[in-house]
Amino acid sequence: MKKIFQLIVIALLSLSVLFGCKENKLKALIVTGQNNHNWEESHIILKKILENSGTFNVETSISPAKGEDMSSFVPDFYAFDVIVLDYNGDEWPEKTKKNFEKYVKDGGGVVVYHASDNSFPAWKEYNVMIGLGGWKGRNEKSGSYVYYNNRDELIRDNSEGNGGEHGPQHEFVIEIRDTEHSIVKGLNKRWLHSQDELYSKLRGPAQNMNIIATAYADTSYKGTGRHEPILMTIEYGKGRVFHTVLGHVGSEKVHYATQDAGFIITLQRGAEWAATGEVKQQLPEDLPNVGSAFLLPNYKFYTLDELFAKAKSFEYGKAQKYLYLISNRIREAKGGSEKLKDFENRILKTMQSDDATSECKNYFCRELSWMGSEKSLPLLNELLKNDETSEMAQFALTRLQQQ
């Protein structure tokens, strides 16, 4: 009996080695349970995003509901590499606050997400950790407004006024200010963020704070006309805080802000940075850019196989991004004939499958027209016979066979 037990233990151990063992992953704790936002959905989204990075094991700590007795709410912060705050609610018990301060001071990691920077206006150390906060009576006593003006000067403004405001949700361009920071290194300097609340006029102690990215708060969306801080890092004792104001999740059916590829990448990388002080995650192949907001409804980047599978069912009026992302990757092949041959094979295979739409075939005819080979000719000649594909097949054949 004992022997069997030992065998089971060994088997379990080897399984855990096989399946990318827990020990290698960072441990994250999402703290939520009260928020003026839809925390019931947002914390699930955050969990998915962090897990999809492959870097984290994620647990959740849900506080008592608003107005209930908080005294039992004492999460074990020390068991985690990073604490992700999705919390805007009642005061934590004093013991929990002290634990948290000590945890961060001793080198713990924190991610401050969206309305978490509204929370705890009177908790001094918390406000030092988050750098900047808003609403709930924050004003000149809370610290400075911090922003970039239109001459790119970093302004710390101590004038009187409330902290925290935002206009209607809209798409806006996020601009990296610290391009060398490991959280954002390698990303495009700017990208268009999907519709979200653009937090503005945040104010706070802003000590040891580094603004990594800003967004211009356009006055046509009731904005301040300033470049408002969007992503920040704050050093607190030996701890590291990554603060993202992005990611509104409300009562809307689709949570565009959190589906944004830029939000997802920076959250994944920011959380790793907060946990360890460095970022080992590889950048995905498809990076967000200023051309269009880039949404990932499953909170996951696409593999090439997934892109081709999606491309198959393309119809006019539906999302084109799968096709565009494939085209981008074809460009990234830099005219290298081996890579282009691989793409040609994948394209031909996709076009030959029974469920490929005419629109899909017509799109790929454009790509084949310049990067195809004689290998494409039989299929293109076949497509000539179909009214829905003959014109684009002819387009490709004309180019491929020109002298």
Partner: protein, 451 residues
């Protein structure tokens, strides 16, 4: 071609020749004097028609409508709304109802007795219509960029030269003071030996999204608008917004290269030469129907070592912020042309002219050895040349050379590779993939006309 029109044209040409070689026909009013004072008899006017009566076409047409020596008689467009409003503009000007409208450029060219044509079409139509018009021996004021592809541009140039027509490209900056002054200063070595040039063009903006498939507006012949371009359903992309789709245009890059690259070339005396290598990086949207680059960075090298950098304005704006681009007045926002020589730089755009040292701009123009073509009114220059048969300030071959840099840059972005370019035979020497992109296949039954 009608005999009538031919005789009118030879009349004009004879008039010009006569002026040049002491008047053999004293009763003929010399073309060079036409329009300087008083009315010009209708029979002596340059008879013009317009193909492509959208915003740019109307702008150009109004310039000619205000000249005394022209008579606009007909317009052609695939949108009835354009025809109606443009006809009203013409008839209102002349106080009659005489101007004629066409939906098919072939009917327009066959039925009208014209001297010259104004052409302001989406780029994908330039090749076919410009070549057909040139083959008919008509002079052309044609909008930039010259063509959508290198091969179409080459055909237009050959057709213009073979038919000995007068061609003026709508790159009107060549007739504007600050641009000409910048070019002359650079040409005369005021900033020393020029080693590089930077060209800032507008940023892309893909805000059109994914409009639904819809019926074309009443009176629009969508199939004819598409013409040689692939057949796609109508999605509201028509006037103006066609620039954001590769089938019709290369975006802000190919729209504006015809201006600021054109000026860069002029300053470098590069109107007859092209790059030897080019590389490019474009940023393309991930969603929406806009598929031209929203950001672009193209670097071309020339045989004499000069480097040309073409980028969207934000690229230079970022450099300015970091203190490595001129930081004065309107030089902000990254637009225009900057030449760098071993003594300093000169920057020109539509807002003005700047230099690294103010004295560069104070050099008396009369002291300069090399003087450039002096046109002060781009549209008048065309009319003057129609009469004199001299070259315009922006002939087809110059426009082809200017837009070629952007077109091969676009190919470098699509293939994302440093390409070697033979400007003489207009082929890449290190990529057959890239060579395939030098032309675009036309949808049947459209074909490039032979010359």
């Amino acid at each position: 071609m009608s005999k009538n029109r031919l005789s009118r044209r030879s009349f004009l040409k004879k008039g010009a020749a006569a002026t040049a070689a002491v008047s053999l026909f004293p009763t003929v009013v010399p073309a060079s004097v036409l329009g300087r004072n008083g009315a010009v008899a209708p029979s002596d006017r340059i008879v013009m028609g317009l193909i492509g009566a959208g915003g740019m076409g109307n702008h150009d047409m109004r310039q000619f409508l205000n000249k005394k020596e022209t008579q606009i008689v007909a317009i052609c467009d695939v949108d009835n709304r354009h025809l109606k409003s443009t006809k009203a503009t013409i008839d209102n000007k002349y106080g009659n109802k005489d101007s004629r409208t066409y939906r098919d450029y072939r009917d327009f060219l066959d039925n009208e007795k014209l001297d010259a044509v104004i052409m302001a079409l989406p780029d994908h139509w330039h090749g076919i219509i410009a070549t057909t018009t040139a083959n008919k021996g008509l002079d052309i004021y044609g909008e930039k960029p010259l063509a959508r592809t290198i091969k179409e541009g080459r055909t237009i140039v050959d057709a213009a030269q073979k038919n000995k027509i007068i061609w003026q490209t709508g790159s009107w900056q060549r007739s504007v003071g600050n641009f000409k002054k910048a070019v002359e200063l650079v040409r005369n070595g005021v900033i020393g030996n020029v080693t590089r040039v930077e060209v800032g063009l507008p940023n892309g903006n893909a805000s059109i999204g994914t409009p639904p498939i819809q019926n074309p507006p009443e009176g629009v012949d969508w199939d004819r608008w598409l013409g040689p371009a692939p057949k796609v359903p109508f999605r509201g992309v028509l006037h103006f917004h066609w620039r954001w789709l590769q089938d019709y245009s290369g975006g802000q890059l190919t729209d504006w290269a015809g201006h600021h690259v054109d000026i860069a070339n002029w300053g470098l005396d590069f109107d007859q030469t092209g790059p030897v290598s080019i590389k490019g990086k474009g940023v393309y949207p991930a969603e929406g129907i806009y598929n031209v680059p929203v950001e672009y960075l193209i670097e071309a090298k020339y045989e004499n070592g000069v480097k040309m950098t073409i980028a969207n304005a934000q690229y230079f704006e970022d450099k300015r912020r970091n203190g490595i681009w001129p930081n004065i007045g309107a030089v902000r926002y990254g637009m225009g042309t900057v030449w760098y020589g071993d003594k300093g730089w000169i920057h020109v755009n539509r807002s003005g002219l700047w230099a690294s040292k103010p004295e560069f701009l104070k050099v008396p123009m009369s002291s300069l050895k090399t003087r450039i073509y002096n046109s002060t009114d781009h549209w008048q220059n065309f009319l003057d040349c129609v009469k004199s048969r001299e070259k315009t300030v922006a002939p087809a071959e110059t426009a082809h050379n200017s837009i070629s840099v952007a077109l091969i840059g676009e190919i470098a972005m699509l293939t994302d590779k440093e390409l070697k370019w033979n400007a003489k035979n207009e082929r890449f020497t290190n990529s057959e993939y890239a060579n395939r992109l030098l032309s675009r296949p036309f949808r049947a039954p459209w074909k490039m006309p032979s010359i």
